[in-house]
């Protein structure tokens, strides 16, 4: 009685794929006739804890697997594509990815990824939250960065979750508390102007310190006895804000040199990447940085350089900024503890271009990249057919396509978070499961990416 549903199949994995973790309790539960879904945390998760932070690069609009990280020879390739094979089976166009072509030793390419969705909002919701979209509850579902923030809490003056480059409609903290709120802005070389109160000449800092301390004294009775929880959390944010203002280390994190700016491309994406680098290197509490690069929805004229956004501009922008990010983090010794994930919401139609010289939405195959944070580079996972339209070999121990849930579990594992967890009584008695089906072993980390 399979139920057909446009855009999304039944998101349950066949039970033969109960392959993650130890199956002890789950197996016993099944034998004893208890529905597996009633068991919570029956899989024993052993998070890797190989990364201190994660930079999550969201290629919004869905990039073509065939024109990015899973290219194949074919008449659709532009003449200057210059596709080359690298050690470990990684194949890249040197035209599109000149920087990454020299960094393949750091890349783990996941070519056997499959999406559940073929519509942008639903697909984006999936990769941002790790969950299927229910419009009625979309507001309370947190971004995975918010879950990370909630787990990591404050480990410095900076908030744990940053988000750059999006359109403003990305998932936020949902029901999670204020600590999980994304810190969002558009980075510029001169940094943030709300970290200073420079309206009083050379007396500015003294003015701010004095006035803030007066505020704290005046507000003390309400901090001790807030009228309700909302007021308590507002007071907490006020105090956290104080730690950031006129804090030289914090001010510097958001500034970068004109040289860095031009090296990274001087675009929104480049500036987000260079800020991500600073955040990771500064170790002031940033645990998750989400960066969105928009424009990948190339239904037509994808190789036409006259179009303001085309495959050349998108790949080259990504390549330049990501390449420099990898090199800088390597040089500072932070790459090993920083997991970089690059993924879009689904793939695009394989083989020849469509009648408008573009590619349309495609669910079954997409590609992703993982770099650093314990990931072993110089490898490609999975094999697809000659037009990158079907997965021939999953190439990992899950022995099926890699889904968003598995990617999410991998991120959580690398960051030392138990991906089988759920939060009870999260909001008015409600319960939130980090990853549906993970506790029952339906989904889990792609352990194969790790060294």
């Amino acid at each position: 009685l399979a139920r057909r549903h446009q855009n999304c199949g039944n998101h349950g994995i066949p039970r033969r794929h109960f392959l993650f973790g130890t199956l002890g309790v789950a197996g016993a539960a099944i034998l004893h006739g208890v529905p597996a879904s009633a068991q919570s945390g029956s899989v024993v998760a052993k998070p890797r804890n190989s990364a201190r932070s994660c930079i999550f690069i969201n290629l919004a609009g869905a990039p073509s697997q065939l024109d990015t990280f899973d290219p194949k020879d074919g008449p659709w390739n532009p003449r200057d594509a210059d596709i080359r094979e690298h050690p470990g089976g990684i194949v890249l166009s040197r035209k599109f990815f000149p920087f990454l072509s020299d960094l393949t030793g750091d890349l783990c390419v996941l070519r056997s990824v499959s999406s559940w969705e073929a519509a942008h909002p639903r697909g984006q919701f999936y990769i941002q939250s790790g969950h299927s979209l229910n419009p009625a509850f979309a507001q309370i579902m947190p971004h995975i960065g918010a879950v990370v923030a909630y787990e990591k809490q404050n480990s410095g003056p900076l908030p744990p979750f940053f988000s750059f480059g999006g359109a403003g409609d990305e998932q936020r903290q949902g029901f999670l508390p204020g600590i999980a709120t994304p810190f969002t802005f558009s980075p510029v070389p001169t940094g943030l102007n709300n970290l200073r109160h420079d309206f009083w000449g050379n007396q500015s800092q003294a003015f701010f310190d004095r006035s803030y301390s007066l505020l704290q004294s005046l507000d003390a009775p309400l901090r001790t006895q807030p009228l309700n929880n909302d007021m308590a959390s507002y007071a907490a944010v006020l105090s956290q804000a104080r730690q950031l203002v006129y804090n030289d280390a914090v001010v510097k994190v958001f500034q970068f040199s004109p040289q860095d700016d031009s090296r990274y491309g001087a675009t929104v994406l480049g500036r987000s990447m260079v800020t991500a680098r600073n955040l990771v290197q500064a170790k002031l509490g940033a645990a998750f940085v989400s960066i969105t690069q928009s424009g990948w929805d190339l239904h037509s004229q994808q190789f036409n350089k006259q179009q303001s956004v085309n495959l050349y501009s998108l790949t080259n922008d990504l390549d330049r900024s990501l390449g420099n990010l990898i090199m800088d983090l390597k040089a500072s010794g932070d790459l090993a503890s920083t997991l970089i994930v690059v993924i879009g919401e689904f793939g695009r139609t394989p083989g020849p271009l469509n009648s408008r010289d573009g590619r349309d939405h495609f669910r079954p195959v997409m590609s992703a990249l993982m770099i650093g944070g314990g990931v072993q580079g110089g490898r490609a996972i999975g094999v697809t057919d000659e037009i990158s339209g079907a997965i021939l070999e999953p190439g990992w121990r899950g022995d099926r396509a890699i889904y968003v849930q598995d990617i999410t579990a991998t991120i959580y594992s690398a960051l030392g978070i138990d991906w089988t967890k759920s939060i009870d009584n999260a909001l008015q008695g409600r319960r939130y499961i980090y990853i549906e089906g993970a506790a029952e072993g339906q989904y889990g980390p792609v352990e194969d990416v790790f060294a």
């Binding site: 034998l31 597996a36 969002t184 004095r210 005046l218 309700n228 007021m231 008015q428 008695g429």
Partner: protein
């Protein structure tokens, strides 16, 4: 827990799979689990019985609201918070009725003659009441120009229509009938954008999707009933643990409601240069019904409608349309349904108290809200005060569906006028279902900016393309991204205002928003004691120029910002000028006062 029937043999394991389908892609297990838990939390409330014989302390009964609220509190031994003092009351009533705090003078006038009922009547009659309550309806209806076939003229028309309804206090039932039956050109017909707004990608989606979306919007907004789940499948095997009423509904019943819109004809005209969007022209045919015919290459988001061939039935009251004008019959049936009035007053209640008598206000389970329906084991009522809700419904109907009458009845009650302060250590979460204290809530972005302007005497002056005249309050904006005052736009967005489309206002404070409110020039300039050619002259700078002494200045700043006198401790802190000049010091005091927790909250 029924339906453990399907035995499956899989790789040596015998798995018992519950028959209930929990794989709905639009309703993930996490959310389902959450809903089930929320229902169990309701149960904890119903089971709650503190000390039935204890004598609860409650204020005197002022009207029908107090009668039912205080009766239940007395019966269950739950004490009420004390009544608001004049400061708390005047601040709250200005925020709720006008969207901003009172000015210094308005506060003084009230303190001199603290006649609460008189003030309520004055505010209800003020233009600012229209600003605030039109804003509330506009946020609910989420109509924004520039998207979903809504052009700028159409957006402005809708805005003016809603403001006119609030200003004249037109009967809500006739307004809703007009919204649901509007015809013609979306750019010209003022009520039409509410329907057109639901029509997303009309030319590439099945029209049945548009009908279903309109039906769900109407059922949710006007009946408090969410129908989204049954627009894809029957309720059975999906909603057993969530909503008893919807569990018994079939997808076919949704089609029967949706069929009322199946004679709507929509024509796209792409001559709209104002926003680069086609506009839609809506008319009604006299033939047609809800069928399953769909272009297979554009199947839309919902599963196939196999066998659909429906004529309209408003099964909530069992009515069927007379004549061919189905859409207007739907509007008639909805607005003549008592549930329309009930859901409407409950929405208003929820807005003023933070939670509904039936809560959530947009998620009714009729099997658990009607006291005459017997609840099965394990289920409890969703309706904390059924008699009160019926009394409010009667009142609304007998006052000709006047929104203002219901608002007046609520805000004059002692229930509404309870303080947010509850005796230390005595509060329990379950008391919130008794409305035993007034729940403090963070000001919206618009309220915060308008209150900042009020406290400091610096109104933002904005013009909006398509509107004549100058706006002086951010809750007068027809929709986001409309005004020419970019610094105000910036700070509003930073503070988390909604986008009138899919993103509601965010009431949680964000760190970035708080940093901006602390250190943004547009905020800082309003708190300065020195006037500046780039900034409006602040209230403080006028008072300084008048030569007021330190104590008087601090008193006035407290009264104009927090609507109360400073305590003696506060006076000491604020006048202890350290070694800086007077201007700088009092600018700092004014800045600190607008950052305070109680400034940021409606309490």
């Amino acid at each position: 827990m029924p339906h453990k029937v399907l035995l499956t043999l899989l790789f040596g394991f015998i798995a018992v799979i519950p028959r209930q389908d929990t794989s709905c892609p639009a309703y993930p297990l996490s959310v389902r689990t959450a809903d089930e838990a929320a229902r169990l939390a309701d149960q904890r409330y119903a089971a709650f019985n503190l000390e039935p014989n204890a004598v609860a302390v409650v204020p005197p009964v002022k009207n029908v609201i107090d009668k039912w609220i205080f009766e239940k509190m007395s019966a269950d031994g739950v004490d009420a918070a004390p009544l608001t003092n004049d400061s708390e009351f005047v601040r709250r009533i200005y925020l709720d009725l006008t969207g901003r705090i009172p000015t210094y003078e308005e506060g003084q006038t009230f303190f001199n003659t603290p006649n609460r009922d008189q003030l309520i009547n004055d505010l209800l009659a003020s233009p600012a009441y229209t600003d605030q309550w039109a804003h509330w309806f506009l946020e609910r209806f989420q109509v924004r120009a520039g998207l979903n076939f809504i052009s700028v003229p159409a957006g402005i028309n809708f805005y003016s229509f809603i403001r006119d309804f609030v200003a004249k206090d037109r009967p809500y039932n006739s307004v809703v009938r007009e919204l649901l039956t509007s015809q013609g050109d979306g750019d010209v017909s003022p009520g039409l954008p509410l329907l057109v707004r639901q029509i997303s990608d009309y030319f590439n989606n099945p029209r049945q999707d548009a009908w279903d979306d309109i039906t769900d919007m109407a059922a949710t907004q006007f009946l408090g009933l969410r129908t989204e789940c049954i627009s894809c499948h029957d309720g059975a095997h999906h909603l057993e643990k969530i909503n008893l009423f919807l569990t018994q509904r079939k997808r076919r019943e949704l089609w029967q409601l949706s069929a009322f819109f199946s004679r709507m004809r929509v024509q796209g005209v792409s001559d709209d240069n104002a926003s680069y969007r086609p506009r839609l022209i809506v008319s009604d045919a006299t033939t047609g019904l809800y069928n399953s015919a769909i272009n297979p290459s554009q199947p839309g988001a919902r599963p196939a409608r196999t066998g659909a061939n429906e004529e309209p039935v408003y099964w909530l009251t069992g009515r069927q349309p007379e004549g061919d004008a189905w859409r207007s019959e739907f509007a008639r049936f909805v607005t003549e349904d008592r549930q329309f009035a009930r859901a409407s007053v409950n929405y208003i209640w929820a807005h003023l108290f933070g939670s509904g008598i039936v809560d959530p206000a947009d998620g009714w389970d009729f099997n658990r809200t009607d006291p005459s329906v017997e609840l099965p084991d394990g289920w409890d009522s969703q309706n904390s005060h059924p008699e009160l809700l019926e009394a409010l419904t009667d009142y609304f109907i007998s006052h000709n569906y006047s929104v203002k009458s219901i608002v007046r009845l609520i805000v004059t009650s002692n229930t509404y006028q309870l303080s947010s302060r509850y005796p230390a250590g005595k509060w329990q979460d379950v008391f919130s279902r008794y409305f035993a204290r007034h729940e403090a809530s963070r000001l919206t972005a618009e309220q915060l900016i308008d209150s900042l302007a009020t406290a400091t005497g610096t109104s933002p002056l904005m013009t909006v393309p398509g509107l004549t005249g100058v706006l002086r309050a951010t809750n007068q904006l027809p929709y986001p991204y409309a005004s020419t005052d970019y610094s105000t736009e910036y700070i509003l967005n930073s503070l988390g205002r909604g986008d009138y489309l899919t993103r509601p206002s965010i009431s949680k404070p964000s760190l970035f928003g708080v940093l901006d409110f602390m250190n943004n020039w547009a905020v800082a300039i309003r708190t300065r004691a020195t006037s500046d050619r780039y900034a409006p002259q602040s209230r403080l700078s006028q008072w300084m120029a008048e030569g007021l002494d330190d104590n008087t200045l601090v008193r006035r700043m407290f009264l104009s910002t927090l609507t109360r006198e400073p305590t003696s401790d506060e006076m000491k802190l604020a006048t202890d000028r350290k070694s800086v000049d007077r201007n700088t010091w009092f600018s700092g005091v004014q800045w600190a006062l607008v950052q305070k927790s109680d400034f940021a909250f409606n309490y």
